[in-house]
Assembly symmetry: C2
Homo-oligomer: 463 residues x 2
């Protein structure tokens, strides 16, 4: 492109003047102020750099988690929280260990191909001798059930591909093999599973993530294999290694639960201090990267809302509470604890918002609420058009995110989950590539703009 | 994010069944086929890799341009063009030369700071002795006019920042200093200009691009300075170098016009062969990077339309013509020539589409057409909702792109310009960073899906 497009100017002009009535116009002007402030002076990006580069991974129970908790308190205070505190909750303490190995095992073992793997979160290890067994490739659960008699004593290799055809939901389609594949195979006597990484990327990085054991079956070790190596393994199995033994080793283990914390920062509401608006992301992250998109982005975007309100001199009518939730990835203990405390104190939660889809360009919200509430939110849609974030997806239950789900179950609290264009998030998700460098400053900040704008409207008008 | 969102499944389900009438449903199913085919088997990305890595830059008149012309013929034929040919047109032949230097010049010149710069396209050089003069920093044209008496004999340094506050149009806002700054300064006797790079990035790369001399004033040399160095230069000018001489050198020069070509590939229409649908991107690129986003992306997306139609066995009713336009960047000779030939042959052009905003996630089209035509296009909007590309911006003139603009002027041909989310394009634009690695496969392919879908609808129903 050589010179500028006229269309851009049209967009710009309609931003302020495109809405008819005075109230909407006042809101439009304030949202433009939010946008200007964050896009010019936003600190979410530098806060994220600090988190990723001075702390990095922060899996539940790790030293990183405790450092990140302190970072959270500091950053919340610096950004305008009137008070910031820790809410204790027990969290699982799973450790990956140093060894994760998977390869063929023949007489000439030194020459056998081996593969980039990483233990799945919550997985047991193999013991120090590893596991040597035949390997069987399985495409999906239907095939597993059809071939259940062939599985006993073997390592099951789930090679279910990330479906590129699906517009938006390929992760949800594939993640069931990671979450439930181990127990499904153990039911038929498998001794371990290898799971093709659940990612949009075709790369050499194993992408980890939690599994959930079904207590009815033996707990067997589970490893993620990189997508490129899954393709290679598939080829080997149809060639010279068809009948070879396979060997895996992992010293992952689940230790005893330990103490973790939700990190909370608040501004008390000036008119309705008892009405609480909760906004958050999760503090824990997987241990292979820096948890930049997942979910450093959600934390710093949430915190930015405090900062922009302070910078613009906006005093919320209702209590704004930023929560950096403990243990979203492999237990959801933080979200659950936050709800339990709210219940015990009989708090009134009118809205909850979560950002846990990465720091990409925002497009709108998943809106989990009543039809009446959604009708009200829909009236604000035009205010989000010029942020190109007016895609509001309605659902009666869910729609917000994992950590704020318990609030909805307990109180029917209206949920907003930030949605993004989402073409890159699952490239990096749960892998060594989820690092600060893969987050784009403006995209991250636009997400904060959209979140702050919706919080402003709900704070002002209720829901 | 630990596990999948239910919302994704909702989106997926509504894709096919969300539309009521049968015709729309048939189109919805065909567009899903286009989407499936391109997202799974698309060749746009590999074609782009080939272009960028085997040829790279292809500025008008350069050896790269001729290689890219042959690449275009080959790729069009491989992708299903029934015939592919070159349409000759004269193009400017500007060469950068090897030297581009800008720095202070004092008695201890070896220690003087110097800056990352690149000649602006079409700029004259300084001569072999360079130019030594005082430098004056100017923020904008208003300041230039106010201080016109201070400019004579000096180098004008335009330090107009890329405005982060602007949602979508910051490039259009800033590019006038690159395009017209040299002549505006020459009018008041300046001897050269340095222009802050027009980019969203804060980086060390100069971003080039065309200038246009006003023949009423002397042609003076013009260089782009990187944004980080523009900031540094600003600081130096307020410190120890306030009164120092400045020295620039560039051996850029404009050579005589040379022969170039529009590269054209066609499928004849089965019912209305005389009704022509033109789709294209531009073949030339700036010479600092590989022209990956600008505009390799537009070329390979356009070519992909032929491939997907062939793969799906779709026989267009109307003639589909893919055009790789010569010389968009510094002359627009290709777009002009294409219109002239169309006029000479009395061709009937019913629609033209251009992709020249980079290979980012698509959001819809700029639609330059009559209100009646836009009403028809708007009826198809729901078909683009599930591609998240239903943002149709109407304008009576323009709205499509530079290369197809002449067709509209000549024939009032309806224009479609692919629009994207656009947060990254101007990071790389016209710089050494516009390389293949900065294009994302799925984002590029989604653009091709959206383009092919609109072409299918216009081909089927007319406009």
């Amino acid at each position: 492109m050589a010179l500028g497009s006229k269309l851009y100017l049209i967009i710009l002009t309609t931003f302020v003047f495109g809405t008819a009535n005075a109230q909407v116009n006042e809101d439009s002007l304030f949202i433009k102020k939010i946008s200007d402030e964050i896009l010019q002076h936003g600190e979410a990006y530098s806060n994220l750099r600090n988190l990723c580069k001075s702390i990095g991974q922060r899996l539940s129970g790790s030293a990183g988690m405790y450092k990140a908790e302190d970072w959270g308190i500091r950053t919340l205070k610096n950004s305008g929280a009137e008070n910031a505190y820790k809410q204790e909750c027990m969290v699982p303490h799973w450790v990956r260990g140093k060894v994760a190995y998977a390869g063929f095992y023949t007489k000439n073992h030194d020459r056998d191909p081996y593969f980039a793997v990483a233990a799945l979160g919550n997985s047991v290890g193999t013991g120090k001798n590893g596991i040597k067994a035949k390997i069987i490739e399985i495409k999906n659960f239907e095939e597993l059930n059809a071939r259940k008699n062939e599985v006993k004593g073997k390592i099951v290799f789930y090679n279910y591909p990330y479906n590129k055809k699906i517009l938006g939901g390929a992760y949800g389609d594939a993640v069931k093999y990671r979450g439930g594949g181990a127990s499904a195979a153990a039911k038929y006597g498998a001794v371990a599973v290898l799971v093709r990484s659940v990612t949009a990327a075709h790369d050499w990085n194993p992408h980890t993530g939690a599994l959930r054991y079904n207590d009815s079956f033996p707990k067997i070790p589970a490893l993620a294999i990189s997508t490129k190596h899954a393709d290679e393994l598939n080829l080997y199995l149809y060639k010279q290694y068809a009948d070879a033994d396979f060997f895996i080793k992992s010293n992952a283990q689940m230790l005893a639960d330990t103490i973790g914390h939700n990190i909370i920062g608040e501004i008390k509401g000036s008119e309705f201090p008892d009405e609480i608006i909760t906004i958050g992301g999760h503090l824990d992250s997987w241990d292979l990267g820096e948890g930049a998109h997942d979910d450093g982005a959600g934390m710093v975007q949430s915190i930015e809302i405090l900062r922009v309100f302070k910078a613009l001199g906006y005093k919320p009518k209702r209590t704004i509470r930023i929560v950096l939730f403990a243990n979203e990835e492999n237990g959801l203990r933080g979200g659950t604890k936050y709800m339990e405390e709210a219940k015990a104190k009989n708090e009134k939660h009118i809205m909850a918002m979560e950002s846990d889809g990465g720091g990409e360009t925002p497009r709108g919200f998943g809106c989990g609420m009543t039809e009446q509430q959604f009708a009200k939110v829909s009236q604000w849609k035009s205010l989000f058009t010029m942020l190109d974030a007016d895609k509001f997806n309605f659902s009666k239950g869910g729609g917000g995110g994992a950590d704020i789900g318990p609030l909805q179950t307990a109180f029917k609290t209206a949920q907003f989950g930030l949605n993004t264009v989402g073409n890159r998030y699952f490239d990096y998700h749960h892998a060594a590539t989820d690092v600060f460098e893969n987050v784009h400053e403006r995209e991250l900040h636009l997400g904060a703009v959209v979140m702050a704008s919706m919080v402003y409207l709900v704070d002002k008008y209720g829901l």
